[in-house]
Every structure is written in structure tokens, then in C-alpha cells.
Point group: C2
Chain length 405, copies 2
């Protein structure tokens, strides 16, 4: 079984059986009768749930050698399965509370076996239904601050950091982000995807030199600022939740990049849902209440992320040059500006680029959907254009509130 | 001969004989009678000149597994010989006019065979003697702009760039810079080296929070800003010159770092010599004339470097996001600020850190030497503190002139 072959359900069952027999995983008893089905809705992987008659189960995820959404025309290195596994191991050590547990991985077959989080919901779906998760903000803040800080120059020796940068060089998946996030929305490209009614707005984006400059600067930083080992794909579809638990999955886009990217992406997804609710919740009081919840979640998450980082910097920094408050504050000011910029870029690319979000695309009324799309574009533009003017998180929150009102 | 052994002159002769016999180098005729002597004055390597009876010669450089200046207590990976060879090959393709030619290299023995530039002078020695090189500024500008641009995100594909970043991960040599350049001068450390009379000034540096913050920010960028494949050690001892020729040698500190580092280091060395001349050239008119020459060299070099980069960006940029004037100008504004900061840091670390320059240490009159050291410290401090206020090169030049008057 060492040579790569794309699995079907039978392969998945056989593979897990072998693991059980060899006692390489302990989820299933020896007499387990396994069944499997594929339910991946992503574009790059096969995802099987393998379960026994006692309701024990695991997830087997296998990378495909191409991007499913664009057929076999966008080949992708299977090395991303190794990267995903190694990011999960790294993040799992630093923040086991909020990282999906990895039970096994096989580099040749490009597969990982993961704990089954089936009892949880995917955040995107839950937020589309206006569900609230009071612990989400603090969980994401804890996760991002811990994985961010402990993989940064504050904590790692320069030698260890350089080795890790090399370990997590991830050209194929980074290229997807480089193209879809930073390049395509600002040029004419066949991969872009937006309704005809937005053409004028899209053209104004393509002609907005200040916005294109901001996008280019964010891209340059994405390319050449290996501050920490990012999750790399922190959208609402990569987060499993219930009222008590938050687990990040799918870090196959992980690489060493700018700290602000992950939290900016997460905030961007909260704002995409915020705007979508204008067309989803008809009752005004209910809508306002939910949008206030989302905004509070965003603010709490950012504030706690920053506070955790400051605390870690004052207690755990190993590099004497960086172990002082003034440096941490300056560092975090740049992280904030990056995060605001990436947040804005996420809003734009999810509206007019290749990959959209169900929060918006699932709005049935075309006119209402269009109004939301107009709003996400304006919001994204303004965040990108004003990101570097934000001196601290309160200025960012004020800017955001002024843009949402 | 594959297993590493530190060479003596006899080994060097035998090794080159083998290369001649195998026709791997063409410098020497078949009947060459070779002799060799070691003349390295560096701290990390053995350097042999191997010559024949017809006056043909080459340089054989071999890395030692430790830093010679601190005995065997600072072990260094021999991998730096591979890095030096691969940087020379990279830079030699991009700017053969100003890169020493590499004739052969052997990874196991950590050695390179280089063209002999013995007919040229080392820039530091020549500038100590107040010699002028009218083409130096334009040559350095051409070299730094070409190696910088063609190894940057402007030109390389993201995939190629990531592979190169990994190829040139250089932890051992980077650590020397991280420690000696950015850390030691701002703390109490046994490696620091300064006369007792400077103690008060050194303590004021250690207590200057703004200066330490500037140093920490420059260090953070050195650690996490792989913009291009730097030379990494652009001081006046790494440059061979005569009236027509300029050749860079010794890029063993090469790695992907911030563009401003190399040109900042080079400018710092010009300013170290500028200050040293206050104690070296007694005749005022002559001194002023030479210092004006140095300042003009610095300004011309920076101006031409910037202009070359702008020209390359407008004609050769392959990434559509970066192929516009506004992005290049913004990018170069940050390069300038970095360069001014690194320039200032070079002045400070060469005055109170471990590694000094002969321009200053060779001044015989202790009082005059001390006055120069005071000046380089003040100049370095002011450049570091004001670097981020420089909006363009003219503001930098004005700042510099005001500090030198």
C-alpha cells in the first residue's frame, strides 16, 4: 500500500483495519466491524468517516494530486498532506485544546487519520443559522496567540526557527492564496466569479491604485515575512464548534508567514457573516442582536489575542532583544495593521474571486444578495485602505463600527 | 581526499595539481610547478594562494569548523562553504562584472577555488590610505541592485523563491550577525570590546530604550524578512578594487534577508572611514576633500542603487502585483529606512562590539582614536533613531550631512 493511490471507501476501511491490527490506533476494539463513506466537500481532498458498530469513529483524510474544483488542471503536490500533519503536530503540542487530534499519518499515501469531530458543527453552517458560541472568541484568541507566539522569534532560537521555516515551505498551497487572495480580484482573470451587476464595482476596484497598492503590500508581506507558523486557512469552514469546544482543522495551507494573516482571515469571515445577516435575518431586533454578538466576538477575540501575546512576551520571550514591552507593542501594532488589511482582502476575494462563502452565496433573494456583496466590497476596500492608519485596536474597532453603521 | 581535513600548503598544492590533471581548472598549464602559502587574515577560514612558475595563480579558500578569533569555542558548520559557493554562483550569473569568479568547489572539503584578485587592493586598506575609486559607487550600486532585484519577489516566481530561501538557510553565520550586530552592543557581554573611556557612553546606549527598540526592530527584520539573497557581509574588507574594477568576495554570510542590510553595511563602512580620517589626515583641506569624496560615493551609490531598482522593476518585474511604480517606490522607501538603520547599527557594533575596523583601531594616537569612536557612536545612534523618519534618499542625505557637520 505504499505507492500513492486515491482511496475509495473500501480502501479506507482496509487501511484502518490494518492500523487496528497493528495497534497503531486505539479508537476501535479488536472486534470492530468497520464501514466508511466519503463526505468531503472541500476541493483538494477525499474525506472518509470510518466507524464501527459501537459508534466509535475516525476521519481519514487523503490529499488528491490536483484541486478538485478546477478538475485535474491545477496539480497540487501531495507534500501538503505531510505539511498538514506536521502543522497539526506542532499546533497540537502548543494548543491541544483547540487543535484537532492527529492519530496517524502516512506520507506516501498523503493521508492523515484524525479524531472525528462529528458531534460538533462547522462554524460557517452554525453562523449561517445565527447560532452563538460564547467561548469562540476566547478559544480562537488562545489558539492563535499560542501557535503564533511559540513559533515566532520571540520564543524559538534563530536556528530552530530557520529549520522550521524550511520544514514548512509550502509553495503549492501558498500559490493558491497568492493568486486567489491577492492577485486575481485586482485584475481581469477567468477565475474571478461575480454577478454581472457587480461589474462596475469590480472595475472600480481594478482602477483603484491605492487599493491595488495595499493589496500588493499585503501580498509582499505574505511572501516574505515568516513571522510564525500560520494555520493558513482560518475561515469559518476550518473551525468546529459547540457551546463548550472549538477545534481548528485543515491547516494544510500552513507555512511561516505574517502573524496578522490568520486573525485577519478569521475576522474577515465574521464580517462576511455579519453582512450576510442583513439579508438573512428579517426581524430587525433579532438581526441587530446577532450582529452585535458577531462584532463583540471579533473585538473580544482580537483584544484577548493581543493580551495573551503581551503576557507571553513578558513571561516567555527567550530572545533578550524582544523581551521588552516597547518591542512587543510595536510588533503588535504592525500585526494589527496587517490583520486589518488581510481582513479587508478576505472580504473582497470572497465576493468577487473564485472561492465564495455559503453565508452569502446561499442567500436566495438575488437583490438582497447583491446588496450584501456591495456591502462586503465597500467594507473590504475601506479596511484595506485604512489599515495602516490604525494605531491600536480601539482605532480599528472605531473604524469598523463607523463602516458598519 | 573526501573526508574533511584542514589543509596546509602542501595539501593545497596537491589538491590543485589534481584539478589540473583532471582538467577541472584551466588556469595552469600541464607543466606547472605549484607552490602555495596561507595568508588568511579572516577569522573563519584558511586562505591559500597557489601559484606556478609562470605567475598564474588561484586562491584556495577552506572553511574551518570553528571561528578562529575565539579559538575552537565557537563551532561553525562547514555548510557555509557550500553557501558561499552557491551565492557566488548565483551572484556571478547576475552580476559577473563585480563578483569574484568561482572556479571549483568541493562540499566535503568545504573549499572553493577562486580567481586570484591579488593585483587588486582590499578597499579597507586603500581607504585607510585615502585612496579614491571613482567607479566604486556605481559598481556597488549595480551589483547590489542586480543581485537584490533578481532574487526578490519582483522577479522570482514564488515557488522558485521559496526553494532558494530554503537553499540558503544559514543559521551559523546568521547567528554571528544576530549576536554581534544586534544584541551584544546593547547589553553587557564579555564579547564587547571598547576602551574604558567609552564606558559611560556605552552605558548610555544600554539605557537608551528608543535605541534598543530600534536595534530590536532591525534584528527582527534581519530574522524574518527574506526579501532577497544578500551578500551578508558587505564591509570594506569584502571588496577588491582598483581604478577600473570592483569585485565582491566572501559572501559566506549570504542568506535571504532584508534588501537594506547589504547597502546599509556598505554605507556604514564608508562612514567609519569618514570618521577615522578626522584622526588620520592632518591637513584640513586634504581631509575635507577626501571626506567629500566618501560622502559623494555614499550618495551616488545609494541614488544609483535606487534608480537601477526602479528601472529593473519597470522593465523586468514578473509579478503583476509588483510591476507598478507606486509599489516600487513604497518598497524602496522601506529599504531606505532599513538601510539607514543597518548603517547606524554597523557604526555602533564596529566601535563597541567584538569586531572592529582597522580604519579606527589602527589610529595610533589614543586620544584621537577615542574622539573618532565617540563620533561613530553618536552618528550610529542618530542614524538608528531617525531612520524611520527618512521619507526619501534626500532626507537621508540631509540628515547625514547635518550629523557630520
Amino acid at each position: 500500500m505504499a505507492k500513492y493511490t486515491a482511496f475509495n471507501a473500501e480502501h479506507a476501511v482496509d487501511y484502518i483495519k490494518e492500523l487496528v491490527k497493528s495497534e497503531l490506533i486505539s479508537v476501535f476494539p479488536a472486534d470492530a466491524t468497520l464501514t466508511a463513506y466519503e463526505f468531503g466537500d472541500g476541493n483538494l481532498n477525499l474525506v472518509f468517516r470510518v466507524a464501527d458498530q459501537y459508534n466509535n469513529s475516525v476521519i481519514l483524510k487523503q490529499a488528491l494530486p490536483y484541486a478538485r474544483c478546477v478538475g485535474e488542471s491545477w496539480p497540487l503536490s501531495l507534500d501538503r498532506a505531510r505539511i498538514e500533519a506536521e502543522v497539526l503536530i506542532n499546533h497540537g503540542k502548543l494548543c491541544p485544546e483547540h487543535t484537532v487530534a492527529i492519530l496517524h499519518h502516512n506520507v506516501e499515501l498523503a493521508l492523515t487519520v484524525l479524531e472525528d469531530l462529528g458531534e460538533l458543527q462547522i462554524l460557517r453552517g452554525a453562523q449561517i443559522n445565527a447560532e452563538q458560541f460564547p467561548l469562540l472568541a476566547s478559544h480562537v484568541a488562545l489558539y492563535l496567540s499560542r501557535i503564533g507566539f511559540y513559533n515566532s522569534d520571540f520564543y524559538l532560537s534563530a536556528e530552530d526557527k530557520k529549520a522550521k521555516v524550511s520544514q514548512f515551505i509550502n509553495p503549492d498551497l501558498c500559490k493558491i492564496t497568492e493568486d486567489l487572495f491577492f492577485t486575481d480580484p485586482y485584475i481581469e482573470h477567468e477565475r474571478n466569479n461575480f454577478p454581472t451587476e457587480l461589474t462596475e464595482h469590480v472595475e472600480s476596484i481594478r482602477n483603484n491604485d491605492a487599493l491595488k497598492l495595499a493589496a500588493a503590500k499585503l501580498k509582499a508581506k505574505f511572501l516574505s515575512c515568516p513571522q510564525t507558523l500560520l494555520h493558513g486557512d482560518m475561515h469559518s469552514g476550518s473551525i468546529f464548534v459547540d457551546s463548550k469546544t472549538t477545534k481548528m482543522i485543515d491547516p494544510e495551507f500552513g507555512f511561516f508567514g505574517p502573524v496578522g494573516f490568520d486573525i485577519g482571515s478569521f475576522m474577515g469571515n465574521l464580517l462576511l457573516n455579519y453582512c450576510a445577516q442583513n439579508a438573512r435575518i428579517t426581524e430587525q431586533a433579532k438581526r441587530r442582536q446577532y450582529q452585535t454578538h458577531l462584532l463583540t466576538c471579533l473585538q473580544d477575540c482580537y483584544s484577548q489575542f493581543e493580551q495573551h501575546w503581551l503576557n507571553l512576551a513578558s513571561s516567555e520571550a527567550t530572545d533578550i532583544s524582544f523581551a521588552n514591552r516597547a518591542f512587543s507593542e510595536d510588533y503588535l501594532q504592525h500585526v494589527l495593521r496587517d490583520a486589518v488589511g488581510y481582513c479587508g482582502a478576505e472580504l473582497i476575494r470572497r465576493t468577487i474571486g473564485l472561492a465564495h462563502v455559503a453565508d452569502i452565496d446561499g442567500i436566495e433573494d438575488a437583490q438582497a444578495r447583491l446588496a450584501v456583496q456591495q456591502q462586503t466590497l465597500v467594507l473590504g476596500e475601506q479596511l484595506m485602505l485604512n489599515a495602516t492608519s490604525c494605531n491600536n485596536k480601539d482605532e480599528f474597532f472605531s473604524l469598523l463600527i463607523s463602516l458598519l453603521n
